[in-house]
Amino acid sequence: MPPLFFVAIGLVFGLYLAMNIGANDVANAMGTSVGSRALTMRQAILAAAVFEFLGAVLVGGSVTKTVKKGVIDVETLSDPTMFMIVMCAALLAAALWLQLATWRGWPVSTTHAIIGALAGGGVAASGLAGVSWGKLAQIGTSWVLSPLIGAAIGFTMFRILSSRIINARYPRVMARRATPFLVALVVFVLVLSMLYKGLKNLHLDFSLIRALELAALGAAVGGLLAAFLVWRRPLGRVRLNDRFGYVENQFGWLQVMTACYVAFAHGSNDVANAIGPLSGVLSAWRSGAVRGEVEVQEWVLAIGGAGIVIGLMLWGYRVMETIGRRLTELTPSRGFSAEFAAATTVLVCSKMGLPISTTHTLVGSVIGVGLARGIAALDMRVVRDIFAAWVVTLPVAFLLSAVLTRVMLLFFL
């Protein structure tokens, strides 16, 4: 079978997965902003498209590398054709499982599906030695830790905001004063993550010191701009029955920023689920060996980013529309805290090359805010369902991919 055949399969299913990620996960990334009315649906779609793409291309490399070569033990699985078959089988298995889950309405994670499928393919191709269990254990640990870290950051962030701003003697004055600093904080983290060890593909690899300097500069500019916009307007008289309206309005603006931040982090982490295996197929095809080039090429990342954007334009729209009709008890201050926590956690994991579930991290962050007594009611049944889907996805994707690998090996090798 010509290797080009596998490239074609990889391309088709890689794109399919990317589109699915765009269609389904974007609702989770932007849903809280639309639900709290910080963004209209149209704005959310646009912001998601831009920042998902940027995140995928600028920071998506590390995680893609892990998905491409971290799970499969490339020492054992050194035959390029076999490697390509495992990658294609994993893509196919993940796509099939995801399609079933979407049809049934199960809250499954693309990340869990693709990692489980890769492990299954590796074992089917060359036994237990075909998988680097150490890395897999590391990934598994990050799946447990990421919601916990998200919860911890969300809890802390909201506690600080509520004690310093919302529960202050003059909440409106404090909110007005704090907004530029919070803007600066978000810009700082965002720019730092873009510059430090990012942008390698654009040959703009900054050292930590240089990246910190530039991030601080960006934060200063953002903060000053926000200060100009916020402080220019007079505070106005406090309205009866609406003492917190102004405060929440300020957070509405901040939440727009964190929504973009979440989209960026999501793009950076989740593009790998689709594009990691595809990138593996491509490099095996081009170099004729499994251990060829090390870096993930930017145009492959761009394909993944484009796939996500196409997916969210085609179907994400409809999912978001449904969400736009739902109203939540989530106010912008809560949304800001949860989104900031989730995006930061996801972005740090992306930098470390750990593929985690954005949705799980966000759920963890929201629960963190809930633990700080911030949310009227959280339905823990949903958490149970998500956990159940998590437990089911791994073995199903594993088995499905193993079977597909065996079948393909039988036919194509």
């Binding site: 009709r325 739902r326 009611a377 339905d379």
Partner: protein, 395 residues
């Protein structure tokens, strides 16, 4: 509040205000009626009414299937004085009305005073979206679309967000499924509902003491009906507070609070039943003021308790802490103080009654003592409501 459907379970009153009451507020009122059905009472007015409805507005509303031609442009002074759930202005600047309401918003919608019908259409569509969102909020996230109406607390739609279109993808579970229906707003609505029979207690005693049996019977009937309505709201809340909900307050405190609120309605029922047990129960005229005073004091405690419950919104915003919590504690202290006053007054009134034992007769005396007790218990329940909120704050 009396005489209006506003505040009764499920029905919400909305007032839309713009400058001329000829275009924007007229369309918003009509849209609210269309979308909200019989769960919404909508009104509109202008700060400087032009006296006529904009013909373009009539035209575009006719496109949306709504006839505005019989509407008149009204002044703010002419609107019925009620307790509005929401007052919405359209960007009227300094002429914003001073109408009390739970929700006050300025939508800042441009005045399409031009004759360009496309612009008026755009304003209509903008208004439709905003009215939809407002009504959904007012009716606790109840789906605002369609003509289907129900006053029931909205059923949760766990993972089933199926609408028209490709249902498969819309069945997707999203993070928003995590957010449950706020029990606090439901509690506020329940409190509004139980205060309705409480409001009838004073008119009942007035009629009863004056010997107007006919009127007393009407009010008695009304109270029994309102008590039943309150029970329904209470049951809905209980049914929709699954154990899986993670709340910022202890679930038991919440249910205990609900129980105390419901006791207010139950006590009203007990009062009218005890009062009408004996057909010829009367009271010497000079004792009337003491009884009515006792009723008034108890009602004041209930109104204070309602104020506490209305603060739940703010308490949720401040995660039950900070300055707001301190202010609510002060309010709760006032409820307690009022309850104490009620007790003292009940004691003196009871003694007054015993002095007239011969004149009243043992049976009448017993019944009046019982009534006095029941009225006092209204204040006790109000105090309990405050205490349960206090528990929530001290966690």
């Amino acid at each position: 509040m009396a005489g209006s459907a506003c505040g009764r379970s499920g029905i919400r009153c909305v007032l839309f205000v713009c400058i001329e009451n000829s275009c924007r507020s007229q369309m918003a009122e009509a849209l609210a009626r269309m979308i909200g059905g019989d769960r919404i009472e909508a009104f509109s007015a202008g700060s400087r009414p032009s006296g006529r409805v904009n013909p373009r507005a009539i035209e575009v509303m006719a496109e949306a299937g709504c006839d505005l031609s019989a509407h008149r442009s009204k002044s703010l002074a002419g609107i019925p004085p009620r307790r509005y759930d929401a007052v919405i202005s359209m960007g009227c600047g300094d002429a914003c009305p001073a109408v009390p309401a739970r929700i006050r918003e300025d939508w800042d919608i441009p005045d399409p005073a031009t004759t360009d019908i496309g612009e008026v259409r755009a304003v209509r569509d903008l208004l439709r979206a905003k009215v939809e969102s407002l009504l959904a909020r007012l009716l606790d996230g109840q789906e605002a679309g369609g003509g289907e109406t129900s006053t029931a607390w909205p059923p949760m739609m766990h993972g089933r967000m199926v609408r028209s279109g490709d249902a498969g993808r819309e069945k997707m579970r999203t993070i928003l499924d995590l957010f449950g229906q706020s029990p606090f707003r439901a509690l506020q609505r329940h409190m509004d509902t139980v205060l309705e029979p409480v409001d009838q207690v004073r008119p009942f005693f007035e009629a009863f003491l004056a010997g107007d049996a006919e009127k007393a019977r009407t009010i008695r009937k009304r109270i029994l009906k309102l008590e039943h309505e309150a029970d329904l709201v209470k049951n809905e809340i209980r049914d929709h507070l699954p154990k899986s909900y993670f709340l910022p307050v202890d679930r038991r405190d919440l249910l205990a609070l609900l129980h105390q609120q419901d006791r207010l309605a139950d006590l009203c029922e007990d009062i009218v039943i005890v009062a009408t047990l004996k057909a010829d129960l009367t009271l010497p005229r000079d004792l009337h003021p003491a009884i009515l005073e006792e009723v008034d004091l108890s009602l004041e405690a209930c109104v204070l308790a309602r104020e506490v419950i209305e603060r739940l919104d703010e308490l949720l915003e401040t995660s039950f802490g900070g300055e707001e919590a301190a202010r609510v504690i002060e309010l709760i202290d006032r409820v307690s103080a009022k309850e104490h006053e009620v007790d003292k007054h009940a004691y003196t009134t009871a003694r007054q009654l015993f002095v007239r034992e011969q004149e009243l007769g043992a049976v009448d005396l017993g019944l009046w003592q019982k009534l006095l007790q029941l009225v006092g218990r209204l204040a006790n329940a109000a105090e309990s409501i405050g205490d349960h909120v206090r528990l929530m704050l001290s966690r």
